[in-house]
Point group: C2
Chain length 673, copies 2
């Protein structure tokens, strides 16, 4: 071991799929010393999960590249349900909006995962020097438990192995169709075993000196997928089982007379199973096709015989289900097959030093388009928390909320997926007396209800040190106790001041105008993901004497050196490094200018002058209508204070007069600077 490279890093991320890249993006945006490694030699180019929920698009937009996904993606507007008629012939029986109108400024779209990864890579490169180290895999992990509670310690030691290019190239089963080699996804499917050990073994013969290095890290993120090496090292398990359903996936350019091929379709045939149609970019269509039904099993022995699964077999299944419509193809882009497994990790972390995210802690059916979304959102939840702890802004205690918040989401997802998969995979009921069949009415209702869940907008994090609401944190989360430790830091929101904003949920977005230049912005556009907390003051009509008085009083309190701003803003940092104080009033825009408001909302810089970007007004725009945010969000004319986390989830709502509550809230987890 002489001459081996040793180094320290604050955060080490294993795996550069969407969950790992989301984590790296947070690290880049927050200026954290981080590394991200992936055992594969290249990023992926075909296939893979590809649905993007509207909440995910909001998040990508907050990172600066939602518009790229929105522009390139195929937009899905409508779901068409096709079911057998009285003669057993499939007919369109219903149409549903794919995304519930009004819940977000984005709607669900479909885009190849490789593009999403590209956007992340560009965003990381723009904000930092972090770059994905490919062909690098971990070979050992040690945690020094005596150090885990010391903030500044590096309790984690990982040995990294640098692979040769050959080793880092995944061995695919190369399928030949029309004489062309086609990439398939079997190597990552749960029908295949993890290849990590194979890769390690294969690299042994050509092992060179210095192809290993030792890294000491403060935090380790296992974003290494369903076969997570990190998870195995720390001895955590996934709980749950495989279902009895086997599905094939074809990404093709279809040649068909099926009229709804560019719609998202759920097609139940009378006797041959189901197909889900997902129209994609570049004329591609993804078909999820039910292949067969075996007995339910919890172990590997009943897995389908992989050698018998082939694009032609999958296509023939689709043709039987879609009859009398014809479908074939000349272009096959990718294909795979999988058996649905529904499992959740027993824990998401050890010592709040090693964290698992994404497929490493939950697996489920891909058809609801949740996989990539929930995985990215795991990291989106965790990243800013780790960054703020590493920077010394907040106490380590907030890290516990990751498991509390995200394991609960994973549990809910599995419950949703169980119900949805059963309905989707089952045989349609012939009539009301057919108890074994699936009622199509029930299916439609589940689909509609599922849409809200699937949008990602319904996420509602439980009470904790960083979500000031009533109730038991254990019950509202996954059972982990994340309640406020010291009762003197206990703060409860007054939800009545603003019925349209729910503490624990992401703040909704509507159009507001910049006071300085009358430009309309969606509220979310002024809440980019950069690690800052926002204290949003809805001040009501600031031409009203009382409201005006309250606003000036609030500003004085915030300006006090013992306020949260005075106590926790790092010395020498820009005034809004950690907290951004925003104002949204609803006096007529033209009745005021930015200079009519307290300086706390327009801080002065001697080189850059006044800050013109923190005062907004709820008024009509010249070209983009009227957001009407006060009415839409039922904001009280008494005004209110809303604290928004760096990930846009709402921590607190309270009266304008209670500035003490704001100080108390932040005192619960911030560290004095």
């Amino acid at each position: 071991m002489t001459g081996i490279l040793e180094s320290n890093v604050d955060v080490l991320i294993i795996g550069a799929g969407p969950a790992g890249l989301m984590m790296a993006t947070w690290m880049a945006k927050c200026g954290i010393n981080a590394r991200i490694v992936d055992k594969r030699g290249t990023k992926i180019f075909n296939g893979q999960a590809d649905g993007l929920q509207c909440r995910t698009l909001e998040i990508l937009d907050s990172l600066g590249f939602g518009h790229r996904a929105w522009r390139e993606a195929n937009h899905m507007l409508e779901i068409c349900l096709w079911n057998p008629d009285e003669n057993g012939t499939i007919k369109r029986s219903d149409r549903i909006a794919d995304t519930i109108p009004g819940i977000s400024r984005f709607q669900q779209v479909v885009l190849h995962q490789g593009r999403i990864e590209r956007f992340f890579l560009d965003a990381i490169a723009e904000a930092s020097d972090i770059c994905v180290e490919r062909g690098v895999m971990p070979s050992s992990l040690k945690i020094d438990e005596s150090l885990v509670d010391e903030d500044a310690a590096y309790p984690i030691t990982v040995t990294l192995k640098h692979l040769t290019e050959e080793e880092a190239t995944p061995k695919q089963s190369s399928t030949s169709v029309n004489g062309q080699a086609i990439q398939d996804g079997l190597f990552r499917s749960n029908l295949a075993k993890d290849d990590t050990q194979d890769l390690l073994d294969a690299s042994k013969p050509c092992a060179k000196a210095n192809n290993e290095e030792v890294v000491h890290a403060k935090y380790l993120i296992g974003a290494d997928g369903a076969h997570s090496w990190t998870r195995n090292q720390i001895g955590l398990r996934l709980e749950g089982d495989s279902t009895d359903y086997i599905w094939g996936v074809l990404d093709i350019v279809p040649i068909t007379d099926f009229p709804d091929i560019r719609m998202r379709c759920a097609i139940h045939s009378a006797n041959y199973g189901s197909v889900m149609v997902i129209p994609r970019e570049n004329k591609l269509v993804r078909l999820y096709i039910q292949l067969t039904t075996t007995e339910k099993t919890g172990d590997d022995s009943a897995r389908a015989d992989r050698s018998k699964i082939h694009p032609q077999i999958i296509l023939e299944s689709a043709q039987r289900i879609l009859a009398p419509y014809k479908i074939t193809y000349r272009k096959l882009d990718w294909w795979t097959a999988y058996q649905i497994g529904q499992r959740v990790g027993t824990s998401f972390s050890v010592h709040e030093r090693v964290f698992l995210v994404g497929d490493a802690v939950h697996t489920h059916s891909p058809k609801a388009g949740q996989g990539m979304n929930v995985s990215m959102q795991d990291s989106f939840n965790l990243g800013w928390k780790i960054a703020s702890v590493v920077k010394g802004y907040t106490r380590r205690s907030i890290l516990k909320t990751y498991q509390s918040e995200r394991r609960r989401i994973a549990q809910d997802l599995i419950a949703f997926d169980r119900k949805f998969s059963r309905l989707f995979s089952g045989r349609p009921a012939k009539d009301v007396m057919d108890a074994e069949g699936i009622s199509m009415e029930e299916f439609k209702l589940a689909f509609e209800k599922g849409n809200m869940f699937a949008s990602g907008i319904a996420v509602n994090y439980g009470a904790s040190t960083i979500v000031a609401k009533e109730g038991s944190s254990a019950e509202q989360g996954d059972g982990t106790d994340v309640s406020v430790a010291d009762s003197k830091h206990h703060v409860i929101s007054d939800q009545s001041l603003c019925g349209g904003i729910t503490v624990g949920m992401r703040i909704p977005s509507h159009k507001i105008l910049s006071q300085a230049d009358a430009r309309p912005w969606h509220l979310h556009e002024v809440l980019p993901s950069n690690g800052r907390w926002r204290v949003v003051i809805f001040a009501g009509n600031t031409n009203d004497k009382q409201q005006r008085a309250k606003l000036w009083k609030l500003s004085e309190a915030f300006d006090d050196r013992n306020s949260f701003l005075g106590l926790y803003t790092p010395k020498g940092a820009r005034y809004d490094e950690l907290f951004e104080v925003l104002l949204i009033h609803n006096a007529p825009r033209i009745s005021a200018t930015v200079l009519d408001f307290p300086e706390i909302f327009r801080p002065f810089d001697e080189v850059y002058g006044w800050d013109y970007n923190k005062i907004f007004v709820d008024d009509v725009s010249y070209h983009e209508g009227f957001g009407n945010i006060y009415e839409t969000l039922a904001v009280s004319q008494e005004g209110c204070i809303v604290i928004v986390r760096p990930d846009q989830y709402v921590s607190y709502i309270g009266p304008m007069g209670d500035t003490a509550a704001v100080n108390t809230f932040f005192a619960g987890f911030m560290k004095g600077q």
Copy 2:
């Protein structure tokens, strides 16, 4: 001359500013063999014209990068007019929408010219191998007049000189402010002489063998600015004169208590002249500041003494005008000064083989934000015409419409600019009896009226071979005769069928839904600039028996081998290489599928299946409202045929039954394939 490189190129473009890059982008999109050279060694980084009209944004969007400009630009929403009150103190006297609401889906924005050039460069690289050859300047030009009428000839011979890096770097007057060297624009201002000859002279001593080459071109584009070398070579002149107004320009990060500094402002002081405030990206503000008034002059002798103009002088002028408000800065990004010259080229072309575009044929005041826009739109008008002639699709006669259409625009612009400059530069009237002063009421009216002109949306091209409307082509254009040569090709539109679309103007854009997947698109989004003509069929309610019959009859006529599609579509090309036939109906969306319409609207490809992107419906969307295009554009329920040029301007409107007129129209200038 032994060993000198000689080569042929279809189109040679001199100058890589916005006008030249727009031309190169068309060449790239249409697959034309073209080169673009620029004598400067690098693209510009600071300053320069930067307003983008809403029509320009529509055009950039049609080229695939409008969203990049829209996202990065500063949006200007409101114009504030400031005038002296009865005590001579400036006060905000009015507010006007900066862009007239409803005329476009974009509004006027401001973005540094260097970014626009970057977007062009990216678009060119994405579509072709064309790259800007920098540090290359022309040194001689010959035109073989005996060849100018031969389609396939290369009548133009240009010698190109490759400069050294040092030669290609513009010599700026480097201004030192706060110890930093600041770029200024005097070297390109009309207060400075053109430096082309200097560059040529300077390069002589180090001339090497092979640093010259000879290029034979079919077409030459002079996009080489106000001092155009190309214009001088072909002996064309600019007509007009310089005005008496001298203006300074400062790009600063202002430190000020002026409350409207983030609005576009026109500020008239009582005694110290005027300032125009243009808020820009990155906290920058551009100030146009009136410096002094000298006697009107037509020659160079009365030019201002350049050595006396300096940022401090300009700032002090601004301070006097803005008093009692204070303004200063710590950051100066760029500055320049200019004397307004208003001139138009006597002709825009020789032999329709050499064309001048942009500043080479018109100069005027920068304050209306027109310069870069009109210049880019010159090339946007010309590019597709040249491409279609080079490809052999259309006859050379259409090239005459460039001068007819664009010289008229330049003349209108100068007239507008004269009026606007006088109003802006003049002293405000003290009262109604003050005949020498400028009435502020008149100023406001002119501003409002000017907004329509300045938007670029009002452009209305006259009758010609490619614009089928009544009236004299000479009167409607610049005097050039571009009327239909053979009366058997004469076609007149029926404007009554669609009152909201005007023949000669760009087709307005409203939301329509794709029949195949219910996705809302702005009409312009489905008319990208790729050289294709569009024949848009507004078929009305296709559930109506009569409309349906008309639609099928029209489809049969279009499918005939003697139709325009049969005669002019290049052999072996894709079905929509030259013409795209689009359908917009207003039967309820869910009453039909794409397969219910004639195949002409959904051509079949044996590899890619049906084309799903040519049938649209005027119906309500799930998330983006109702475009209501039939009502908004007053489309007759009888339906109509609208022919749209590759640049989105409307050529023809006629009844669905008159398919013969469509054939006749295209016969006027298309070449049989």
